[in-house]
């Protein structure tokens, strides 16, 4: 990571690295994507045929689930372009500084492949409220952020195309995102869409920085592969969610006769993305109880 990249990362909460992938790399990844998309469309709708539920609109796969590493599982050579991204040397040199040594892939890769007319998503994430597991910290010498997403561009994202957008500097915001910014109907001029070419890589503070997906407006299909990392001791939305129940994370015999409250602290680490984690509270009389009845 160069001094300029470090400065810009701290300043804005994102970074664009130009032409990390060669045209041949981009073509190989796009070929693999085409193969994957075709296989999804040929699947039946029987339960279990579509693990991770790719989103399909008008017969086009427009987004894959971020919790299932479809692209890493493909047969060779199609898995190679994606396996090459997850530990790419240039990206690693950034991540080891951004997330610290021992950083790890939390979830992904997923592909966003919107076509013209596919609606965008809400802006989300911010420096306020601060979320320690994905938040940004800087002591003037070193810096750290719990959630980093690396977005490999397999198609151009020209000015006005939509797609990835962010609020630069929002990772340090002391105020929550105003309502109008969320869906961009009154974005106050704060929302920015970086301009990218196929082969570029966008790295952003996922969770700390306000970001989202604008409706895709270009005639060509958006192609972005998102790979999501975190620090060694953090968990976002990866497989930990599937294996986090106390019986899996520890041992069935160990937890079998525990109370609901005791089981709550035996849960494995993952973010409470859908509000599924039972939080403990302590009442004034000292009683410990699971809030909102979310026992596991």
């Amino acid at each position: 990571m160069t001094e300029q990249e470090r400065y810009f990362w701290d300043l804005t909460g994102y970074l664009v690295l130009r032409q990390v992938l060669s045209p041949a790399d981009v073509k190989a990844a796009n070929d693999a994507y085409e193969c994957y998309a075709q296989s999804v469309l040929e699947m039946t709708d029987e339960p279990g045929d579509r693990p991770g539920k790719p989103r399909i609109e008008n017969g086009i796969v427009v987004r894959t689930s971020n919790q299932f590493p479809h692209f890493l599982e493909m047969e060779k050579p199609h898995c190679d372009p994606f396996r090459d991204t997850v530990a790419h040397p240039l990206i690693m040199s950034c991540l080891v500084e951004m997330c610290g040594r021992g950083f790890r892939l939390d979830h992904g890769p997923e592909i966003i492949s919107h076509v013209k007319g596919v609606p965008g998503g809400a802006m989300h994430g911010s420096g306020d409220p601060h979320k320690p597991w994905v938040g940004y910290q800087n002591n003037g010498e070193s810096h750290w952020v719990g959630g980093v997403t690396v977005s490999w561009q397999l198609a151009d994202q020209p000015e006005g195309a939509g797609g990835f957008s962010c609020v630069p500097a929002s990772h340090k915001s002391h105020y929550p995102m105003p309502e109008g910014v969320k869906w961009r109907e009154d974005d106050l001029g704060a929302v920015h869409q970086p301009i990218c070419k196929a082969g570029d890589v966008v790295i952003f503070m996922d969770g700390a920085q306000t970001h989202g997906t604008m409706p895709w407006m270009a005639d060509h299909q958006r192609r972005a592969v998102l790979v999501k990392y975190t620090g060694r001791t953090c968990a976002r939305q990866g497989p930990e969610k599937l294996f986090g129940d106390p019986e899996n994370h520890w041992d069935e015999a160990l937890v079998s006769d525990m109370t609901t409250e005791q089981r709550a602290v035996m849960l494995g680490p993952y973010s409470n993305h859908r509000g599924e984690v039972p939080y403990l509270g302590v009442s004034e009389d000292g009683t410990v109880a699971v809030e909102d009845g979310r026992a596991r």
Partner: protein, 265 residues
């Protein structure tokens, strides 16, 4: 300060207040500024003078300019950002002439000029505090393509020193080649830009051949910082502005701070 203003000011380190003043207020201020600009140096009253683009103590030249220092559009913001302890430490009238050399103002900020400890930006109890704020009331229009103020949004909170080679070495000469992260602000006459001196900023060359850029540079510090203005300037001021430019102890609450709207006596 509205919630949206507070969000943007904290996010970017500056705020563009549109249509802050207009009509007679604007026309009177424009006429007074033109009078100052067109004066021969030897005709100027004591305490005034011209140093290149800077027309010293311009805010005290006429009541229409003095009023801008406590204008209702910025007064609540100035009060909040100085934690209710405001002091106006300088008020210059600044111009860019059509016939001037087309030089750029290199990107800079208080941290570059005086060190990282020169500027503070904090948020406590939901309120922003900064110890060096500048308000730029604009007296003429700046249109896209004209040139003028450049800012690096968010740089007031930058944790790292700006590398010397960043943003083209700090020299930005034309709008078509703005480096990523740099923004050109184009206020209209009657707009006010309020900015932390910690924001990295500079200026594009002024390009119009038939118009000047004319704006005030009003600097505010906490009342326990700064130094006294020349006596000949202080003598011209209304009591309210005189209190604003005067230093005071940390815990003193100035009378003007108790008011939401200041009317000059």
């Amino acid at each position: 300060m509205t919630e949206k203003q507070r969000y943007l000011l904290d996010l970017w380190g500056y705020l563009h207040v549109r249509n802050a003043f207009s009509g007679e207020e604007l026309a009177d201020a424009q006429k007074a500024a033109e009078r100052y600009v067109n004066s021969k140096p030897e005709e100027l009253p004591e305490g005034f003078g011209i140093e290149g683009k800077r027309h010293l103590n311009g805010f005290a030249f006429d009541k229409s300019l003095e009023r801008l220092a406590t204008h209702p559009s910025i007064w609540p913001i100035i009060k909040e950002i100085t934690k209710g302890r405001p002091r106006l430490t300088s008020g210059t009238l600044q111009i860019n002439n059509p016939d001037e050399l087309k030089d750029v103002l290199r990107l800079h900020c208080a941290k570059d000029d005086y060190g990282w400890d020169a500027i503070r930006w904090d948020v406590r109890d939901g309120r922003i505090f900064c110890n060096h704020v500048v308000a730029f009331p604009y007296l003429t229009d700046v249109n896209p393509g004209d040139g003028g103020l450049l800012v690096v949004p968010g740089s007031h909170k930058s944790n790292f020193e700006r590398p010397p080679e960043a943003f083209n070495g700090g020299i930005v000469e034309d709008l078509d080649h703005l480096p990523d992260g740099v923004v050109n602000i184009t206020p209209k006459a009657g707009d006010v830009v309020i900015m932390s001196e910690g924001v990295t900023h500079g200026a594009l060359p002024w390009t119009p051949k038939d118009r000047m850029r004319m704006y005030m540079v009003l600097r505010y510090h906490p009342q326990y910082a700064g130094s006294d203005m020349p006596e000949e300037i202080r003598e011209r001021l209304s009591p309210e502005t005189l209190e604003l430019v005067s230093g005071a102890a940390h815990k003193t609450v100035k009378e003007i701070v108790k008011r939401d709207v200041i009317t000059l006596s």
